[in-house]
């Protein structure tokens, strides 16, 4: 997976719905990132939280220990919008090159 694209996926998933780390890893896997494990997602969440893009909140559970629920901060939402625009721009540019060079699968 391209470096940084997982950050974008995590922010997008948490923007859709705040989650705890394990639930987030499961959601990302179900959404198509099958190879992404909790062991990858948890350090990433830690980094995003330290960068003030995520906010954490303890949520008690009637059946188990309290969990940390992660959600986007205002800075996180701004970063998501910015990264999404960058992603769309760069994929559009790459697709344009691939079409122009005839390398795009659909052109062969």
């Amino acid at each position: 997976m391209l470096r940084g694209s997982l950050d974008l996926c995590v922010l997008a998933a948490l923007d859709q719905r705040p989650s705890h780390a394990y639930e987030l890893a499961t959601r990302l896997a179900e959404a198509g990132l099958g190879e992404v494990s909790y062991g990858t997602v948890y350090p990433l969440i830690t980094r995003l939280r330290r960068s003030a893009l995520l906010h954490e909140q303890q949520q008690s559970s009637p059946v188990g220990p309290a969990r940390k629920i992660f959600s986007l901060t205002d800075t996180g939402r701004a970063a998501l919008a910015d990264w999404l625009a960058q992603w769309q721009r760069s994929t559009r540019d790459v697709e344009a090159v691939l079409h122009a060079t005839g390398a795009w699968v659909g052109e062969r």
């Binding site: 990858t40 350090p43 830690t46 220990p65 969990r67």
Partner: protein
């Protein structure tokens, strides 16, 4: 280490507890203070616990080795820094010191008597007056040589214990190098002072006197190790 919500430990599966203990051990070896470790340990434990409820083992969930996971989380938390680890340093050194002193009493003292007895036999066999000057001189040399040997062994054992106790610590090698020098300096200062106390008390074996002698030597040694760590942490 907190395994979440005290009182629930019995509910945490052994497989999860084992992984959580290993994660916490990795961070403890790095010198990460408990106040920082505990909330993250509790959070990871809660996640692994939830996953276990869905019949997913911690190994499946982590998707990597426990050590690698612990290192990545430590890195992202900004924990891979030079923690002072003074408590762990002194605790490791104390373990080494106790071992060295125990070994000293068990090995060095009996060896010294054996060597002195052997020297006495040689002196008698050579026909030298056993009460003469030469024998006394040889005895002194043997005793001081054995004490010096014990001192070298003591420092080696203490530094080995520190090396083991702080094996994941940042700036360990400079700490050990400085420790070697400063321990020798501390011994050069403390041992003659302890001997002076012994002379002044007519080599009394009163607990207070013995405690003062040991306290002086071990206290200065502890100070030397702390100074070595402080110096090592200030290096760029």
């Amino acid at each position: 280490m907190i395994i979440p919500s005290s009182g629930r430990n019995r509910d945490v599966p052994a497989a999860v507890q084992s992984v959580i203990r290993e994660v916490d051990r990795c961070w403890r070896r790095l010198g990460v203070p408990r106040v920082l470790r505990d909330p993250v340990v509790a959070d990871v434990s809660a996640d692994l616990h939830a996953a276990y409820g869905e019949e997913r083992t911690p190994e499946m969930v982590l998707g990597t080795t426990v050590a690698k996971f612990a290192e990545q989380v430590a890195q992202e938390n900004g924990w891979l820094v030079a923690w002072p680890m003074y408590g762990r340093l002194l605790a490791s050194a104390a373990v080494g010191a106790v071992g060295a002193i125990g070994a000293g009493f068990a090995l060095v003292l009996p060896s010294m008597y054996l060597v002195l007895a052997a020297v006495g036999h040689v002196v008698s066999w050579a026909g030298i007056d056993a009460a003469g000057y030469r024998e006394g001189h040889v005895d002194e040399v043997v005793v001081y040589a054995m004490y010096a040997l014990f001192g070298v062994g003591f420092v080696a054992v203490v530094l080995s214990a520190v090396r083991r106790g702080l094996r994941a610590a940042v700036q360990l090698r400079p700490t050990l190098r400085a420790g070697l020098v400063l321990l020798a300096v501390s011994a050069a200062v403390s041992v003659p002072l302890a001997v002076a106390i012994g002379h002044a008390s007519h080599f009394s074996s009163a607990p207070l006197v013995v405690a003062a002698e040991f306290g002086l030597v071990l206290g200065l040694a502890a100070g030397a190790l702390i100074a070595a760590r402080v110096w090592a942490l200030r290096l760029p």
